[in-house]
């Protein structure tokens, strides 16, 4: 006990309330980018300080608060925050280092206790299976009333099932259910946000050096941040529901002002105002290319987009590989040609996400039974090198030409980077077998495709060894490989493959290297299938900017493709997204991707929700047999353009390319010969993009 007290005394920090004299306006780079809010737990919250400050070893102290306690040991990268009873919906954490400070918003926990209780017929064993458990069977407890599962949950939409003596059933006591996208249903438990009682903040008016924000309801307090510092009270005047913010003087470049407010029911939405050279940005055209909020992303599969260089075509010569899964000749030079021809500029695209261009094997792997075929690495996701470009896709010269020409058109280039695994022919696997996880679990079974139960170690296939990122030396080496691309090419970011299968250490180390070694904005977006809690756990100022929002996409697909799916499902999913990721998130809102049945093929009914989407593409030719599907796809695109985040168009979705699942969703891009419906859709998508990017002053409706 004595030791604990001694420890606490050492760790508890002294107040720095009156440290104004220590703070001056001298610019010191304690942090880079905007510090994201910390989502607190109900009890102790442990944060990694390097998520918010570049050099945690330089931290001197923290400002003490009446509303929380801090536990920290000098020189350490972790801080524990212990909220007290009177912790407000938004608090501030101030970190001092070398006579300067940065601030971090803290969000009070919004979790509530929830008990899922099984009330059905008597059973020997009941288990709980849900998004919450990563769709793994979780043990339930028993009391006199029967089986129950207790947890803490944020507001949101939670799908679940009971597994009663091995059989999955809906909750007999809950009439709410939602389609699972595979022909069945899951029970739905919803915790609503307190939106009726908390105010909505809206930017109202602006002048040269100030702006005003209005709250829709009374609020208790507002916290206004300029970059990563709370603004002086003299620059923020509150008059009833009006908040008047004076912009700091003598600013150059792009900076941001953020507002968070709260009343007794909870926090408001976040407000983000970009300021360039000290003035509020009112015109999207004034935003620089790499302002990532203005991105209209386009995901293209390099091999399937455009063949710009016939000389590098080198499909695998083997009868065991069907043409659908062989190299088709698309390459970086083809993308350069599309840039030159103004394809993306004309459509309004300003960020290109290229499928992996890393060197892939020259042989075929994998196996499909009906029809029998092996697969080539045409998709790029089987790297045999982490720093070489596959010659079938191009070379360093063509990538440099692409980035240069894209930048001339104010278009960003982001690369799809595969870090989770390599192909077994990768020299690394031969040289350092100890850098990889075992293909076998301790019980002797194979650890493949165990996406959730062995998330960090599972192999995608027997020829794709998973890198063991629990070893920091491995993290250092592999993040250096990723940095190679940023240092040698003027690319603007990464789409990170298989994000949730890689340890957090990797993301933090890579982001720290980017912040300290690369002097330009870098956008990082991850790929994680899972609950919003899991997805968000990779997003903060020390890791990724965003991830693809597959939960929102699933709801959008169901609602826009199916006649009977109520719009409330999409509304609930959107509210959940805004709650979990904020109103100024950089999540990717997709029209489709390389792993999903094309939306239009669901919408037209040519692929059924309850069939094997991959097999459908092998068994029959998928066309658009119901032309109302084009309008449904337009609705999906309109929805993505209207909501916060980064709209992301999968190549071909601008005109309605059909396709079942992989590989049928990866057909060659069609530039010419579009039918009347395809031409019309493409025109509408172009208008929707223009609407998102430009400021229309006059009353206008998107023409039908």
């Amino acid at each position: 006990m004595k030791n604990i007290i001694k420890f606490l005394i050492v760790l508890l920090l002294f107040s720095c309330q009156n440290k104004k004299k220590m703070v001056d306006n001298q610019q010191i780079e304690l942090s880079k980018g905007l510090n994201t809010p910390v989502y607190m737990n109900r009890d102790t919250t442990k944060i990694i300080l390097s998520d918010y400050i570049l050099y945690p070893e330089k931290i001197d102290s923290f400002v003490r608060s009446k509303h929380y306690k801090l536990l920290w040991k000098k020189g350490k990268d972790t801080l524990q925050i212990l909220p007290k009873q009177d912790f407000k919906p938004v608090e501030n954490l101030r970190i001092f280092a070398q006579n300067h400070f940065v601030d971090v918003p803290l969000y009070r926990s919004t979790k509530t206790k929830v008990v899922f209780r099984y009330t059905g017929t008597k059973a020997k064993k009941v288990r709980f299976k849900s998004q919450i458990t990563g769709w793994q069977n979780a043990d339930m407890q028993q009391d006199s009333l029967g089986w129950y599962y207790k947890t803490n949950l944020d507001p949101g939409n939670y799908q679940y099932l009971f597994v009663v003596d091995g059989k999955e059933i809906l909750d007999p006591a809950n009439p709410k259910k939602v389609s699972n996208g595979m022909g069945g249903f899951n029970s739905l438990y919803q915790i609503y946000m307190n939106l009726e009682k908390t105010p909505l903040l809206q930017t109202d008016t602006y002048q040269d050096k100030a702006f005003e924000v209005t709250a829709s309801k009374d609020f208790d307090k507002v916290l206004v941040y300029f970059q990563n510092r709370l603004m002086d009270e003299k620059n923020v005047q509150v008059n009833g529901r009006k908040i008047h913010v004076k912009i700091p003087q003598n600013l150059t470049g792009e900076t941001y002002i953020r507002l968070y407010a709260y009343n007794k029911f909870g926090r408001t939405n976040d407000v983000l105002v970009p300021v360039i050279d000290g003035r509020v940005v009112a015109n999207a055209n004034a935003l620089p290319r790499n302002d990532f909020h203005k991105q209209i992303m386009y995901f293209l599969m390099v091999d399937r987009f455009k063949n710009g260089d016939l000389a590098n075509d080198k499909p695998i010569k083997s009868d065991s590989v069907l043409p659908k899964v062989n190299f088709k000749g698309g390459d970086i030079q083809g993308i350069v040609q599309a840039v030159d021809q103004g394809y993306f500029k004309d459509l309004g695209i300003n960020t290109l996400w290229l499928s992996p261009i890393l060197k892939n094997p020259d042989k075929a792997y994998g196996h499909w039974q009906k029809p029998p075929t092996k697969f080539s690495g045409y998709h790029g996701y089987w790297p045999v090198s982490n720093i070489k470009i596959d010659t079938r896709f191009g070379n360093a010269k063509s990538l440099k030409e692409l980035t240069q020409k894209a930048h001339q058109q104010n278009t960003n280039i982001i690369l799809d980077y595969v870090a989770n695994h390599v192909h077994k022919d990768h020299p690394l696997y031969k040289q350092h077998p100890d850098w990889f996880t075992s293909l076998y679990l301790p019980d002797g079974t194979m650890n493949t495709e165990k996406w959730d139960s062995h998330r960090l170690t599972t192999w995608f296939d027997t020829f794709l060894p998973t890198i063991d990122f629990s070893k920091h030396d491995v993290v250092e080496k592999m993040t250096d490989s990723a940095m190679f691309w940023l240092k040698n090419f003027d690319i603007d970011g990464f789409r990170h493959d298989a994000t949730k299968h890689i340890q957090l250490d990797y993301w933090r180390t890579l982001t720290h290297k980017i912040k300290t070694q690369i002097n330009r904005p870098v956008y990082q977006i991850g790929e994680t299938y899972g609950s919003p809690q899991l997805i968000r756990s990779y997003i903060n100022s020390g890791m990724l900017n965003g991830q693809f929002n597959f939960n929102l996409y699933d709801a959008a697909v169901a609602v826009f493709a199916k006649k009977d799916e109520p719009l409330s499902r999409l509304s609930d999913a959107l509210q959940e997204a805004l709650f979990f990721y904020g109103q100024h998130n950089l999540m990717g809102n997709i029209s489709g991707n390389q792993d999903r049945v094309r939306f239009i093929s669901y919408a037209s009914g040519d692929v059924k929700f309850n069939e094997d989407g991959k097999q459908a593409g092998w068994d029959r030719k998928i066309v658009v047999s119901d032309t109302t599907a084009y309008h449904k796809l337009e609705e999906l695109q309109a929805f993505n353009m209207m909501i916060p985040g980064v709209p992301c168009i999968y190549y071909g979705d601008e005109y309605g390319m059909p396709g079942a699942n992989d590989p049928d969703n990866r057909r060659m891009m069609q530039f010419d010969g579009l039918n009347i419906h395809e031409k019309y859709l493409k025109q509408q998508v172009k208008k929707l993009i223009a609407l998102r990017k430009t400021r229309w002053r006059c009353f206008m409706a998107v023409p039908k």
């Binding site: 930017t203 940005v281 409330s568 309109a638 209207m642 039908k704």
Partner: protein, 71 residues
């Protein structure tokens, strides 16, 4: 700018989803109508199973203005 930096308000009424974005002078409203009837929203007709996007200067979209959906 409303679609890039605007605040977002989401409303759901009788299978009609309304998304309002606002950033200073710019206001944009999207109405997705999944009901099987035509609706009117601020004088605009939105057909059944259709959507419409309305942009206008914010003075026409003050929160005080009644914006009910007419069936």
């Amino acid at each position: 700018m409303a679609l890039l930096y605007g605040s977002t308000k989401v409303e759901m009424k009788e299978n009609v989803l309304i998304i309002k974005r606002r950033y200073f002078q710019d206001s944009i409203t999207a109405i997705f109508n999944k009901s099987d009837k035509e609706i009117k929203y601020n004088g605009q007709v939105i057909k059944a199973f259709d959507y419409k996007i309305i942009t206008r200067p914010s003075r026409f979209l003050k929160p005080t203005r009644s914006q009910k959906i007419e069936k």
